[in-house]
Protein backbone atom coordinates (compact mmCIF):
# COMPACT_ATOMS: atom_id res chain seq x y z
CA UNK A 1 0.00 0.00 0.00
CA UNK A 2 1.19 3.56 -0.65
CA UNK A 3 2.88 4.80 2.50
CA UNK A 4 1.22 8.20 2.01
CA UNK A 5 -2.28 6.87 1.45
CA UNK A 6 -4.81 9.52 2.35
CA UNK A 7 -2.18 12.14 3.22
CA UNK A 8 -2.53 14.21 0.04
CA UNK A 9 -5.64 15.76 -1.49
CA UNK A 10 -6.88 17.66 -4.52
CA UNK A 11 -8.36 20.88 -3.18
CA UNK A 12 -8.90 23.05 -6.26
CA UNK A 13 -9.92 22.74 -9.91
CA UNK A 14 -9.56 25.38 -12.61
CA UNK A 15 -10.34 25.35 -16.31
CA UNK A 16 -9.80 27.85 -19.08
CA UNK A 17 -12.50 28.46 -21.69
CA UNK A 18 -12.62 25.70 -24.28
CA UNK A 19 -12.08 26.79 -27.88
CA UNK A 20 -12.16 24.73 -31.05
CA UNK A 21 -8.80 26.18 -32.04
CA UNK A 22 -6.22 28.88 -31.71
CA UNK A 23 -7.01 32.03 -33.68
CA UNK A 24 -3.78 33.91 -33.19
CA UNK A 25 -5.15 36.35 -30.62
CA UNK A 26 -3.28 36.81 -27.33
CA UNK A 27 -6.39 35.90 -25.32
CA UNK A 28 -6.61 32.53 -26.96
CA UNK A 29 -2.91 31.70 -26.83
CA UNK A 30 -2.11 28.56 -24.94
CA UNK A 31 -0.11 30.55 -22.40
CA UNK A 32 -3.05 32.81 -21.58
CA UNK A 33 -5.30 29.78 -21.16
CA UNK A 34 -2.73 28.10 -18.95
CA UNK A 35 -2.53 31.14 -16.68
CA UNK A 36 -6.33 31.39 -16.49
CA UNK A 37 -6.66 27.73 -15.51
CA UNK A 38 -4.08 28.21 -12.74
CA UNK A 39 -5.75 31.36 -11.41
CA UNK A 40 -9.13 29.65 -11.37
CA UNK A 41 -7.79 26.56 -9.63
CA UNK A 42 -6.22 28.62 -6.86
CA UNK A 43 -9.39 30.67 -6.46
CA UNK A 44 -11.38 27.44 -6.27
CA UNK A 45 -9.15 26.25 -3.45
CA UNK A 46 -9.09 29.55 -1.61
CA UNK A 47 -5.32 29.81 -2.04
CA UNK A 48 -2.96 32.29 -3.67
CA UNK A 49 0.28 32.00 -5.59
CA UNK A 50 2.17 32.74 -2.37
CA UNK A 51 0.99 29.37 -1.11
CA UNK A 52 2.38 27.49 -4.13
CA UNK A 53 5.83 25.93 -3.98
CA UNK A 54 5.50 23.22 -6.65
CA UNK A 55 4.48 23.14 -10.29
CA UNK A 56 4.08 19.97 -12.34
CA UNK A 57 3.24 20.69 -15.97
CA UNK A 58 2.65 18.22 -18.78
CA UNK A 59 4.09 20.53 -21.40
CA UNK A 60 4.62 18.50 -24.56
CA UNK A 61 2.44 19.34 -27.57
CA UNK A 62 2.25 16.96 -30.53
CA UNK A 63 1.02 18.87 -33.50
CA UNK A 64 3.27 18.91 -36.49
CA UNK A 65 4.38 22.15 -37.98
CA UNK A 66 3.22 24.66 -35.40
CA UNK A 67 5.72 26.76 -33.52
CA UNK A 68 7.28 26.17 -30.15
CA UNK A 69 7.11 29.66 -28.65
CA UNK A 70 6.53 29.35 -24.94
CA UNK A 71 3.30 31.00 -23.98
CA UNK A 72 2.04 31.13 -27.55
CA UNK A 73 2.03 27.42 -28.42
CA UNK A 74 3.30 25.80 -25.26
CA UNK A 75 2.72 26.02 -21.53
CA UNK A 76 6.02 25.04 -19.95
CA UNK A 77 7.15 25.31 -16.32
CA UNK A 78 9.52 28.06 -17.38
CA UNK A 79 6.71 30.08 -18.93
CA UNK A 80 4.38 29.69 -15.95
CA UNK A 81 7.02 30.48 -13.35
CA UNK A 82 8.24 33.49 -15.28
CA UNK A 83 4.74 34.93 -15.66
CA UNK A 84 3.43 33.99 -12.24
CA UNK A 85 6.39 35.46 -10.38
CA UNK A 86 4.93 38.86 -11.13
CA UNK A 87 1.72 37.71 -9.44
CA UNK A 88 3.28 36.46 -6.22
CA UNK A 89 4.79 33.07 -7.04
CA UNK A 90 8.04 32.58 -5.16
CA UNK A 91 10.47 29.69 -5.23
CA UNK A 92 9.13 26.43 -6.61
CA UNK A 93 10.12 22.88 -7.32
CA UNK A 94 9.00 22.13 -10.84
CA UNK A 95 8.81 19.35 -13.36
CA UNK A 96 7.83 18.88 -17.00
CA UNK A 97 6.06 15.56 -17.32
CA UNK A 98 5.51 14.83 -20.98
CA UNK A 99 1.99 15.10 -22.30
CA UNK A 100 -0.37 13.21 -20.03
CA UNK A 101 -1.71 14.96 -16.96
CA UNK A 102 -1.49 11.77 -14.89
CA UNK A 103 2.31 11.78 -14.97
CA UNK A 104 2.35 15.34 -13.67
CA UNK A 105 -0.24 14.53 -11.02
CA UNK A 106 1.60 11.48 -9.73
CA UNK A 107 4.82 13.44 -9.27
CA UNK A 108 3.02 16.39 -7.66
CA UNK A 109 1.17 14.14 -5.23
CA UNK A 110 4.34 12.32 -4.28
CA UNK A 111 6.21 15.61 -3.82
CA UNK A 112 3.53 16.93 -1.47
CA UNK A 113 3.33 13.60 0.33
CA UNK A 114 7.04 13.54 1.09
CA UNK A 115 7.11 17.18 2.16
CA UNK A 116 9.19 18.40 -0.76
CA UNK A 117 6.34 20.83 -1.52
CA UNK A 118 3.46 22.08 0.59
CA UNK A 119 1.13 22.96 -2.29
CA UNK A 120 1.57 22.03 -5.93
CA UNK A 121 -0.14 22.99 -9.16
CA UNK A 122 -0.76 20.36 -11.84
CA UNK A 123 -1.35 21.83 -15.31
CA UNK A 124 -2.11 20.46 -18.76
CA UNK A 125 -2.91 22.68 -21.73
CA UNK A 126 -3.79 21.22 -25.13
CA UNK A 127 -3.46 23.06 -28.40
CA UNK A 128 -5.19 23.05 -31.76
CA UNK A 129 -3.05 25.38 -33.87
CA UNK A 130 -4.56 28.01 -36.15
CA UNK A 131 -4.38 27.97 -39.90
CA UNK A 132 -3.93 24.25 -40.52
CA UNK A 133 -6.01 21.20 -39.87
CA UNK A 134 -4.68 19.37 -36.81
CA UNK A 135 -1.59 17.34 -37.74
CA UNK A 136 -1.61 18.21 -41.46
CA UNK A 137 1.71 20.04 -41.34
CA UNK A 138 5.35 19.48 -40.54
CA UNK A 139 6.52 15.95 -41.22
CA UNK A 140 3.15 15.07 -42.75
CA UNK A 141 3.55 17.63 -45.52
CA UNK A 142 7.11 17.06 -46.72
CA UNK A 143 8.45 15.34 -49.83
CA UNK A 144 11.12 13.54 -47.86
CA UNK A 145 10.53 12.29 -44.35
CA UNK A 146 13.16 11.28 -41.82
CA UNK A 147 13.16 10.33 -38.18
CA UNK A 148 10.66 7.75 -36.87
CA UNK A 149 8.12 8.99 -39.42
CA UNK A 150 10.14 7.49 -42.29
CA UNK A 151 8.50 4.12 -41.54
CA UNK A 152 4.92 5.37 -41.30
CA UNK A 153 4.31 8.58 -43.23
CA UNK A 154 5.08 7.07 -46.67
CA UNK A 155 2.19 4.67 -45.98
CA UNK A 156 -0.23 7.38 -44.85
CA UNK A 157 -0.13 5.78 -41.41
CA UNK A 158 -0.88 8.65 -39.02
CA UNK A 159 -3.11 9.72 -36.15
CA UNK A 160 -5.57 7.05 -35.09
CA UNK A 161 -4.24 4.38 -37.49
CA UNK A 162 -2.31 2.47 -34.81
CA UNK A 163 -5.22 2.51 -32.37
CA UNK A 164 -7.50 1.41 -35.22
CA UNK A 165 -5.36 -1.67 -35.80
CA UNK A 166 -5.37 -2.62 -32.13
CA UNK A 167 -9.14 -2.18 -32.02
CA UNK A 168 -9.50 -4.37 -35.13
CA UNK A 169 -7.51 -7.10 -33.42
CA UNK A 170 -9.60 -6.70 -30.23
CA UNK A 171 -12.87 -7.04 -32.17
CA UNK A 172 -11.48 -10.10 -33.96
CA UNK A 173 -10.18 -11.75 -30.79
CA UNK A 174 -13.44 -11.33 -28.88
CA UNK A 175 -15.77 -11.66 -31.89
CA UNK A 176 -17.44 -8.32 -31.25
CA UNK A 177 -18.82 -5.95 -33.91
CA UNK A 178 -17.68 -2.35 -33.89
CA UNK A 179 -21.31 -1.23 -34.02
CA UNK A 180 -21.65 -1.96 -30.32
CA UNK A 181 -19.44 1.06 -29.62
CA UNK A 182 -22.42 3.22 -30.59
CA UNK A 183 -23.89 2.77 -27.12
CA UNK A 184 -20.71 4.10 -25.57
CA UNK A 185 -20.24 7.03 -27.94
CA UNK A 186 -23.85 8.12 -27.39
CA UNK A 187 -23.33 7.85 -23.61
CA UNK A 188 -20.16 9.95 -23.78
CA UNK A 189 -21.87 12.70 -25.76
CA UNK A 190 -24.94 12.75 -23.53
CA UNK A 191 -22.74 13.05 -20.45
CA UNK A 192 -20.40 15.56 -22.11
CA UNK A 193 -23.36 17.80 -22.89
CA UNK A 194 -23.83 18.10 -19.12
CA UNK A 195 -20.18 18.96 -18.45
CA UNK A 196 -19.28 22.64 -18.34
CA UNK A 197 -15.85 22.23 -19.96
CA UNK A 198 -16.96 20.33 -23.03
CA UNK A 199 -16.73 21.65 -26.59
CA UNK A 200 -19.88 19.67 -27.33
CA UNK A 201 -21.79 21.34 -24.51
CA UNK A 202 -20.90 24.70 -26.06
CA UNK A 203 -22.28 23.54 -29.38
CA UNK A 204 -25.29 21.77 -27.89
CA UNK A 205 -24.82 18.91 -30.36
CA UNK A 206 -26.56 15.66 -29.49
CA UNK A 207 -25.22 12.38 -30.90
CA UNK A 208 -27.67 9.62 -31.79
CA UNK A 209 -26.94 5.97 -32.39
CA UNK A 210 -27.96 6.39 -36.01
CA UNK A 211 -25.50 9.23 -36.48
CA UNK A 212 -22.75 7.10 -35.00
CA UNK A 213 -23.53 4.13 -37.23
CA UNK A 214 -23.64 6.36 -40.33
CA UNK A 215 -20.56 8.38 -39.44
CA UNK A 216 -17.62 8.60 -41.77
CA UNK A 217 -14.63 6.46 -40.98
CA UNK A 218 -11.34 8.08 -39.96
CA UNK A 219 -9.24 4.91 -39.84
CA UNK A 220 -11.65 2.02 -39.96
CA UNK A 221 -12.79 0.57 -37.60
CA UNK A 222 -12.48 3.96 -35.84
CA UNK A 223 -15.16 6.37 -37.04
CA UNK A 224 -15.41 10.11 -36.50
CA UNK A 225 -17.12 9.74 -33.13
CA UNK A 226 -14.57 7.27 -31.82
CA UNK A 227 -11.96 10.05 -31.95
CA UNK A 228 -11.58 12.99 -29.57
CA UNK A 229 -11.99 16.45 -31.13
CA UNK A 230 -8.86 18.63 -30.99
CA UNK A 231 -9.49 21.76 -28.91
CA UNK A 232 -7.57 24.66 -27.36
CA UNK A 233 -7.81 24.90 -23.57
CA UNK A 234 -6.11 24.23 -20.23
CA UNK A 235 -6.98 22.51 -16.96
CA UNK A 236 -5.29 22.89 -13.57
CA UNK A 237 -5.45 21.12 -10.22
CA UNK A 238 -4.24 22.17 -6.77
CA UNK A 239 -2.74 19.45 -4.60
CA UNK A 240 -1.84 19.87 -0.96
CA UNK A 241 -1.52 17.88 2.26
CA UNK A 242 -4.59 16.38 3.89
CA UNK A 243 -3.81 18.46 6.98
CA UNK A 244 -3.93 21.72 5.03
CA UNK A 245 -6.92 20.57 3.00
CA UNK A 246 -9.21 20.64 6.04
CA UNK A 247 -9.21 24.44 6.17
CA UNK A 248 -9.74 25.17 2.50
CA UNK A 249 -12.76 26.02 0.41
CA UNK A 250 -13.73 22.68 -1.17
CA UNK A 251 -14.21 19.19 0.14
CA UNK A 252 -10.87 17.43 -0.38
CA UNK A 253 -10.46 14.51 -2.79
CA UNK A 254 -7.88 12.38 -1.00
CA UNK A 255 -5.34 10.38 -2.96
CA UNK A 256 -5.39 6.78 -1.76
CA UNK A 257 -2.95 5.43 -4.30
CA UNK A 258 -1.36 5.90 -7.69
CA UNK A 259 0.66 3.95 -10.22
CA UNK A 260 1.87 3.99 -13.76
CA UNK A 261 3.39 1.73 -16.38
CA UNK A 262 5.71 2.42 -19.29
CA UNK A 263 5.93 -0.53 -21.67
CA UNK A 264 6.73 1.14 -24.95
CA UNK A 265 5.92 -1.05 -27.94
CA UNK A 266 8.99 -2.19 -29.83
CA UNK A 267 7.10 -2.28 -33.12
CA UNK A 268 5.05 0.47 -34.79
CA UNK A 269 1.90 -0.79 -33.15
CA UNK A 270 1.57 -2.60 -29.84
CA UNK A 271 0.33 -6.18 -29.86
CA UNK A 272 -3.09 -6.53 -28.29
CA UNK A 273 -1.79 -9.02 -25.74
CA UNK A 274 0.88 -6.54 -24.67
CA UNK A 275 -1.72 -3.80 -24.26
CA UNK A 276 -3.80 -6.04 -22.05
CA UNK A 277 -0.77 -7.01 -20.02
CA UNK A 278 0.27 -3.38 -19.61
CA UNK A 279 -3.08 -2.52 -18.09
CA UNK A 280 -3.09 -5.69 -15.99
CA UNK A 281 0.27 -4.59 -14.61
CA UNK A 282 -1.04 -1.07 -13.97
CA UNK A 283 -4.08 -2.51 -12.23
CA UNK A 284 -1.97 -4.72 -9.97
CA UNK A 285 0.19 -1.80 -8.94
CA UNK A 286 -2.74 0.58 -8.54
CA UNK A 287 -4.96 -1.66 -6.41
CA UNK A 288 -1.94 -2.57 -4.31
CA UNK A 289 -1.02 1.09 -3.86
CA UNK A 290 -4.55 2.17 -2.92
CA UNK A 291 -5.42 -0.84 -0.78
CA UNK A 292 -8.82 -1.20 -2.48
CA UNK A 293 -10.26 -3.23 -5.32
CA UNK A 294 -13.03 -3.06 -7.93
CA UNK A 295 -15.90 -3.82 -5.48
CA UNK A 296 -14.96 -0.69 -3.50
CA UNK A 297 -15.23 1.65 -6.47
CA UNK A 298 -18.19 4.02 -6.98
CA UNK A 299 -16.94 5.71 -10.15
CA UNK A 300 -14.64 4.80 -13.03
CA UNK A 301 -13.06 7.32 -15.38
CA UNK A 302 -10.94 5.57 -18.01
CA UNK A 303 -8.91 7.12 -20.78
CA UNK A 304 -10.71 7.47 -24.08
CA UNK A 305 -8.62 9.48 -26.54
CA UNK A 306 -9.79 6.84 -28.97
CA UNK A 307 -12.59 4.51 -27.96
CA UNK A 308 -10.14 1.60 -28.22
CA UNK A 309 -8.89 2.44 -24.73
CA UNK A 310 -11.90 2.17 -22.37
CA UNK A 311 -12.70 -1.47 -23.14
CA UNK A 312 -9.22 -2.72 -22.27
CA UNK A 313 -8.88 -0.44 -19.25
CA UNK A 314 -12.25 -1.44 -17.81
CA UNK A 315 -11.66 -5.13 -18.41
CA UNK A 316 -8.11 -5.34 -17.12
CA UNK A 317 -8.93 -3.22 -14.06
CA UNK A 318 -11.29 -6.05 -13.21
CA UNK A 319 -14.73 -4.53 -13.71
CA UNK A 320 -15.76 -7.03 -16.35
CA UNK A 321 -14.19 -9.96 -18.19
CA UNK A 322 -11.87 -9.46 -21.18
CA UNK A 323 -13.92 -8.93 -24.30
CA UNK A 324 -17.12 -8.12 -22.41
CA UNK A 325 -17.00 -4.32 -22.23
CA UNK A 326 -19.19 -3.80 -25.29
CA UNK A 327 -21.95 -5.83 -23.63
CA UNK A 328 -21.25 -4.54 -20.12
CA UNK A 329 -22.07 -0.95 -21.14
CA UNK A 330 -25.65 -1.78 -22.14
CA UNK A 331 -28.91 -1.39 -20.20
CA UNK A 332 -27.82 1.72 -18.34
CA UNK A 333 -25.15 -0.07 -16.34
CA UNK A 334 -22.59 2.75 -16.69
CA UNK A 335 -24.94 5.69 -16.16
CA UNK A 336 -24.62 7.87 -13.04
CA UNK A 337 -27.51 5.96 -11.49
CA UNK A 338 -26.32 2.61 -12.82
CA UNK A 339 -24.45 -0.29 -11.35
CA UNK A 340 -21.01 1.08 -12.30
CA UNK A 341 -20.95 4.78 -13.22
CA UNK A 342 -18.27 5.14 -15.89
CA UNK A 343 -16.94 8.21 -17.72
CA UNK A 344 -19.78 10.28 -16.30
CA UNK A 345 -18.64 13.50 -18.01
CA UNK A 346 -17.94 11.64 -21.23
CA UNK A 347 -14.14 11.78 -20.98
CA UNK A 348 -12.06 13.22 -23.80
CA UNK A 349 -14.64 11.80 -26.18
CA UNK A 350 -17.39 13.86 -24.59
CA UNK A 351 -15.38 17.02 -23.91
CA UNK A 352 -12.56 17.34 -26.44
CA UNK A 353 -8.93 16.30 -26.74
CA UNK A 354 -7.47 17.20 -23.37
CA UNK A 355 -5.11 14.29 -22.69
CA UNK A 356 -7.01 13.02 -19.69
CA UNK A 357 -7.88 16.28 -17.94
CA UNK A 358 -11.67 15.70 -18.19
CA UNK A 359 -11.32 12.31 -16.52
CA UNK A 360 -9.40 13.45 -13.46
CA UNK A 361 -11.45 16.67 -13.27
CA UNK A 362 -14.69 14.69 -13.23
CA UNK A 363 -13.43 12.23 -10.62
CA UNK A 364 -12.68 15.14 -8.28
CA UNK A 365 -15.96 16.95 -9.00
CA UNK A 366 -17.95 13.80 -8.28
CA UNK A 367 -16.16 13.10 -5.01
CA UNK A 368 -16.80 16.70 -3.98
CA UNK A 369 -20.49 16.49 -4.83
CA UNK A 370 -20.10 19.15 -7.53
CA UNK A 371 -21.10 17.11 -10.58
CA UNK A 372 -24.53 18.68 -11.03
CA UNK A 373 -26.89 16.64 -13.19
CA UNK A 374 -24.18 14.00 -13.58
CA UNK A 375 -23.82 13.47 -9.81
CA UNK A 376 -23.48 9.88 -8.66
CA UNK A 377 -25.18 9.35 -5.30
CA UNK A 378 -22.80 8.41 -2.45
CA UNK A 379 -19.76 8.79 -4.65
CA UNK A 380 -16.87 8.19 -2.30
CA UNK A 381 -14.22 6.32 -4.24
CA UNK A 382 -13.13 6.93 -7.84
CA UNK A 383 -10.53 5.32 -10.06
CA UNK A 384 -9.08 7.32 -12.95
CA UNK A 385 -6.79 6.05 -15.68
CA UNK A 386 -5.08 8.28 -18.20
CA UNK A 387 -3.04 7.59 -21.33
CA UNK A 388 -2.76 4.87 -23.93
CA UNK A 389 -2.40 1.48 -22.29
CA UNK A 390 1.34 1.14 -22.66
CA UNK A 391 2.00 4.34 -20.69
CA UNK A 392 -1.06 4.25 -18.46
CA UNK A 393 -1.31 6.28 -15.29
CA UNK A 394 -3.79 5.45 -12.57
CA UNK A 395 -5.07 7.27 -9.51
CA UNK A 396 -7.53 6.24 -6.82
CA UNK A 397 -9.17 9.18 -5.05
CA UNK A 398 -11.67 9.19 -2.21
CA UNK A 399 -13.83 11.60 -0.27
CA UNK A 400 -12.32 10.07 2.85
CA UNK A 401 -8.62 9.72 3.72
CA UNK A 402 -9.30 6.33 5.30
CA UNK A 403 -12.36 4.78 3.65
Amino acid sequence: MWEHRGKVAVVGLGHAPVYRGDDGTPERSLGALGIVSVQRALHDAGLTLQDVDGIAVAAHQFYEGAGRDEGKYEVTPNFLIHRLQSQGLRNVHWTDSGWQVGHAFILAAQAVATGLCRTALVVRATQNPAGVRYGHAGVNSRERVGGPAQFSVPYGFTGPAAAAMVLQRYLWKYRQPREKLATFAVHNRRQGLQYEHSIWAQRGEVLTEEQYLNARMVAAPLCLYDCELPVQTSGAFVVTSAARAKDLRQAPAFVLGQAQVWRRPRAQIPRLDDEEQSVAELARRLWDSAGVGPPDVDLVNVYDGYLLYPPIYTEQLGFCKPGEFLDFIRDGRIEPDGELPLNTAGGNNGAGRMNGVPLLYESVLQLQGRAGTRQVADCNLAVTTIGPHWLGQGMVLSSSPRP
Partner: protein, 138 residues
Amino acid sequence: MARPIPAPDAGSQPYWDAADQRRLVAQRCVNCTRYQHPPQRICLICGSAELKFVPVSGKGRIYSYATINDTRVVSLIPLQPFPAVAVELDESPDLLLITNLVGAAAAQIAIGARVEVLFEELGDGRLLPQFKLSLGQP
Protein backbone atom coordinates in the same frame (compact mmCIF):
# COMPACT_ATOMS: atom_id res chain seq x y z
CA MET B 1 2.85 15.76 -55.05
CA ALA B 2 3.89 12.13 -54.93
CA ARG B 3 4.20 9.67 -52.06
CA PRO B 4 6.69 10.92 -49.46
CA ILE B 5 10.12 9.38 -49.79
CA PRO B 6 11.91 8.04 -46.71
CA ALA B 7 15.03 9.97 -45.74
CA PRO B 8 17.34 7.34 -44.20
CA ASP B 9 19.63 8.07 -41.30
CA ALA B 10 22.79 6.19 -40.41
CA GLY B 11 20.82 3.59 -38.49
CA SER B 12 18.19 2.93 -41.12
CA GLN B 13 20.37 3.25 -44.22
CA PRO B 14 20.94 -0.54 -44.54
CA TYR B 15 17.18 -1.15 -44.46
CA TRP B 16 16.46 1.30 -47.24
CA ASP B 17 19.54 0.32 -49.28
CA ALA B 18 18.28 -3.27 -49.26
CA ALA B 19 14.77 -2.13 -50.21
CA ASP B 20 16.21 -0.23 -53.16
CA GLN B 21 17.62 -3.60 -54.29
CA ARG B 22 14.26 -5.33 -53.76
CA ARG B 23 15.49 -7.09 -50.64
CA LEU B 24 13.70 -7.02 -47.31
CA VAL B 25 15.95 -7.07 -44.27
CA ALA B 26 15.30 -6.80 -40.55
CA GLN B 27 17.46 -5.88 -37.62
CA ARG B 28 18.53 -8.78 -35.41
CA CYS B 29 20.43 -8.67 -32.13
CA VAL B 30 23.72 -10.56 -32.19
CA ASN B 31 23.53 -11.07 -28.45
CA CYS B 32 20.00 -12.34 -27.82
CA THR B 33 18.97 -13.15 -31.44
CA ARG B 34 15.66 -11.26 -31.17
CA TYR B 35 14.40 -9.21 -34.09
CA GLN B 36 13.08 -5.67 -34.03
CA HIS B 37 11.56 -3.19 -36.43
CA PRO B 38 11.94 -0.29 -36.95
CA PRO B 39 15.73 -0.47 -36.51
CA GLN B 40 17.13 1.05 -33.33
CA ARG B 41 20.56 1.91 -31.96
CA ILE B 42 20.35 -0.85 -29.34
CA CYS B 43 18.39 -4.03 -28.85
CA LEU B 44 15.25 -3.06 -26.98
CA ILE B 45 15.14 -6.49 -25.34
CA CYS B 46 18.66 -6.98 -24.00
CA GLY B 47 20.29 -3.59 -24.52
CA SER B 48 23.12 -4.82 -26.69
CA ALA B 49 24.52 -2.43 -29.27
CA GLU B 50 25.58 -5.36 -31.44
CA LEU B 51 22.92 -5.44 -34.11
CA LYS B 52 22.96 -6.53 -37.71
CA PHE B 53 20.55 -6.54 -40.61
CA VAL B 54 19.61 -10.01 -41.85
CA PRO B 55 17.59 -11.01 -44.89
CA VAL B 56 14.01 -12.04 -44.26
CA SER B 57 11.74 -13.95 -46.60
CA GLY B 58 9.25 -11.16 -47.09
CA LYS B 59 6.45 -13.54 -46.22
CA GLY B 60 4.07 -13.30 -43.33
CA ARG B 61 0.47 -12.97 -42.16
CA ILE B 62 -1.79 -10.01 -41.52
CA TYR B 63 -1.69 -9.38 -37.75
CA SER B 64 -4.16 -6.53 -38.09
CA TYR B 65 -5.35 -3.90 -40.54
CA ALA B 66 -7.10 -0.56 -40.81
CA THR B 67 -8.59 1.37 -43.69
CA ILE B 68 -7.07 4.83 -43.85
CA ASN B 69 -9.95 7.17 -44.63
CA ASP B 70 -8.51 10.42 -43.29
CA THR B 71 -4.74 10.46 -43.41
CA ARG B 72 -2.76 13.44 -42.14
CA VAL B 73 -0.21 12.94 -44.93
CA VAL B 74 -1.24 15.71 -47.25
CA SER B 75 0.13 14.20 -50.47
CA LEU B 76 -1.72 10.91 -49.93
CA ILE B 77 -5.15 12.42 -49.36
CA PRO B 78 -6.10 11.96 -53.03
CA LEU B 79 -5.46 8.21 -52.69
CA GLN B 80 -7.75 7.52 -49.76
CA PRO B 81 -9.37 5.36 -48.67
CA PHE B 82 -6.57 2.83 -48.77
CA PRO B 83 -5.68 -0.11 -46.56
CA ALA B 84 -2.84 -0.32 -44.05
CA VAL B 85 -1.70 -3.62 -42.61
CA ALA B 86 0.51 -4.76 -39.77
CA VAL B 87 2.29 -7.82 -41.13
CA GLU B 88 3.76 -10.38 -38.76
CA LEU B 89 6.72 -11.82 -40.61
CA ASP B 90 7.24 -15.58 -40.62
CA GLU B 91 10.65 -15.17 -39.01
CA SER B 92 9.36 -13.80 -35.72
CA PRO B 93 6.28 -12.41 -33.96
CA ASP B 94 8.57 -9.57 -32.88
CA LEU B 95 8.46 -8.32 -36.47
CA LEU B 96 5.30 -6.34 -37.20
CA LEU B 97 5.78 -4.24 -40.31
CA ILE B 98 3.37 -1.46 -41.24
CA THR B 99 2.72 -1.06 -44.94
CA ASN B 100 -0.20 -0.68 -47.29
CA LEU B 101 -1.86 -3.70 -48.87
CA VAL B 102 -1.60 -3.46 -52.62
CA GLY B 103 -4.26 -4.66 -55.01
CA ALA B 104 -6.67 -6.12 -52.48
CA ALA B 105 -10.42 -5.66 -52.29
CA ALA B 106 -11.67 -4.78 -48.82
CA ALA B 107 -13.48 -8.11 -48.49
CA GLN B 108 -10.24 -10.02 -49.00
CA ILE B 109 -8.43 -8.39 -46.08
CA ALA B 110 -8.52 -10.58 -42.99
CA ILE B 111 -6.44 -11.20 -39.91
CA GLY B 112 -4.31 -14.25 -40.59
CA ALA B 113 -4.24 -13.86 -44.38
CA ARG B 114 -0.91 -14.77 -45.99
CA VAL B 115 0.97 -11.89 -47.59
CA GLU B 116 4.25 -11.32 -49.38
CA VAL B 117 6.44 -8.30 -49.96
CA LEU B 118 6.73 -6.27 -53.12
CA PHE B 119 8.52 -3.02 -53.79
CA GLU B 120 6.85 0.17 -54.97
CA GLU B 121 8.81 2.67 -57.05
CA LEU B 122 8.92 6.14 -55.53
CA GLY B 123 11.15 7.89 -58.04
CA ASP B 124 14.85 8.76 -57.69
CA GLY B 125 15.60 5.04 -57.80
CA ARG B 126 14.02 4.61 -54.39
CA LEU B 127 11.78 1.68 -53.57
CA LEU B 128 9.27 1.23 -50.75
CA PRO B 129 8.39 -2.17 -49.26
CA GLN B 130 4.70 -2.96 -49.57
CA PHE B 131 2.71 -6.18 -49.14
CA LYS B 132 0.15 -8.02 -51.24
CA LEU B 133 -2.04 -11.01 -50.55
CA SER B 134 -0.49 -14.37 -51.36
CA LEU B 135 -3.61 -15.77 -52.94
CA GLY B 136 -4.01 -19.51 -53.21
CA GLN B 137 -1.73 -20.23 -50.27
CA PRO B 138 -2.95 -21.54 -46.91
